[in-house]
Symmetry: C3
Subunit: 206 residues, 3 copies
């Protein structure tokens, strides 16, 4: 039997996967929130805030474990960077949901739902990718697909802006909508950042 | 007598502490500016710009010394990263002060002063923490407290947004205020980034 | 004859220089776009999108080569970081051009052209600097000059904001212009980020 003298702490993979799994729940809640009426939205935004809180806890678990672990499966910096990039995705999704409620935006353009669909797909891909960090296999497809989704999000975002400025005459309404739409775009960017970090880690380890 | 062949340059700690001390002065000036009348504000904004300039100088001193020093107390990247993160805190505070003057915002909502109070507390904690980098002790409390202050800043920010959109009918006034309020929120985020970097450095060195 | 057993892949320098050369073309197109009429602008924005696409390809080439190269001339992280920072410069310039067309902004304040001139100069300096990464010589001037250009950009940006809020009464027009002006400012910031990264790399290698 061959001894491994410095067993690498594999539970980081589980913690990152756990953190990413919150993103799927969050993106789905955001989609649900969009379809609900004003009362329903408030309740869903509350749930979204709870998921964001749980995701925060997951991030802190990762940081605490980094603190107490001598050998990590890959660079400490990369693990903490990835954990906080995952956290950013959730933060922007939660913020977007909260703004919709805060600004009492009863009606939103149809393309906002396209933005959220892209986020749902990004969240699923990200959650599916995390367990593959263990073996560093099958990650190129994930990276390519999230980058292409971010391009798609960018196009939707610009069309939405043009449409909003064409159709909405009330500047205050426009300001509110613009902030929601931009926060959703930031969430898509954040998913791309996660994918780029995963790619960089995969490069190093290959 | 025992020789240290590669004495680590401890003056980096003094330079980082010096850089952080400007943040305390800056945050206090911002608070003063808020309480002043239009003429007073202009003079204080000038002082704030001077402090920002001094902070810039402090950042450049750190970068120059990095350039000429062979052995550094911790990673070169971490020192330069931390120096520029400290610089960001100052930049956003100075920008917020400048925007208040630029936009001639005579009256600001009371919650803006709450935002600035959070920044003052963040600046004090950051300045107190820097000297502890030398021994890497007592830094967890700092990190936890700044993270909690950032959460508080985030809540104040969202309440402010809701309030402003409810109470202010003039869209141009709203745009001006929103920019000030968002710049202050970015300053709070920047303090959190500093704290997270310190935490990461502490993890590495522990 | 002396053997180099691990030849460092110098083509990364060519790839980074290639990536930076797109920035010069992009900044010049942006300047051209500003001077054109509405029909001309649409055609130039299309060209700008093509350059942005070519820059994307250049970034991906760098990433792919990182993937397949065992020994790199400097840190993998630094190469990929620099490649994506160069990409950001292009993204913001392309976005600004697209917004001008999207928002049908027939007339823009004169200072917008000052902003773009700064970007043109930043792009030239950046393209000139990249080949010097090979020898790590002559880079301080570049860094100092880009930092000073970014300060200049910041001043133009603030004066523009004050002027726009003074002169433009239509809040929707103001929102459109503000977004263009801010995107141009983000492009200037992105060039500064590239310069700071180059400085950090130079520090490490010196």
């Amino acid at each position: 039997m061959r001894l491994r003298l410095t067993p690498r702490d594999t539970s980081f993979f589980d913690l990152l996967a756990d953190s990413a799994s919150h993103l799927v729940v969050g993106a789905n809640l955001l989609s649900e929130l969009l379809g609900a009426d004003r009362a329903g939205r408030k309740a869903i935004a509350k749930k979204l805030a709870d998921v964001e809180h749980a995701a925060d806890e997951a991030t802190h678990s990762i940081m605490r474990r980094l603190n107490s672990t001598f050998v990590t499966p890959f660079d400490r910096d990369d693990i903490s960077g990835l954990a906080s990039a995952l956290d950013d995705c959730m933060d922007f999704m939660e913020e977007a949901g909260d703004l919709i409620v805060l600004y009492k935006l009863d009606e939103l353009p149809a393309r906002v739902s396209d933005q959220i669909q892209v986020l749902q797909r990004c969240a699923e891909l990200t959650a599916d990718a995390m367990p593959h960090l263990r073996s560093m296999g099958d990650l190129t497809d994930y990276w390519v697909e999230v980058n292409s989704l971010e391009n798609q999000a960018d196009k939707i975002h610009r069309k939405l802006l043009a449409q909003m400025f064409d159709e909405i005459a009330d500047p205050i309404q426009l300001m509110k909508l613009k902030e929601v739409v931009e926060t959703l775009e930031l969430a898509a960017d954040a998913f791309e950042t996660v994918a780029n970090m995963v790619e960089t880690i995969a490069l190093k380890e290959s």
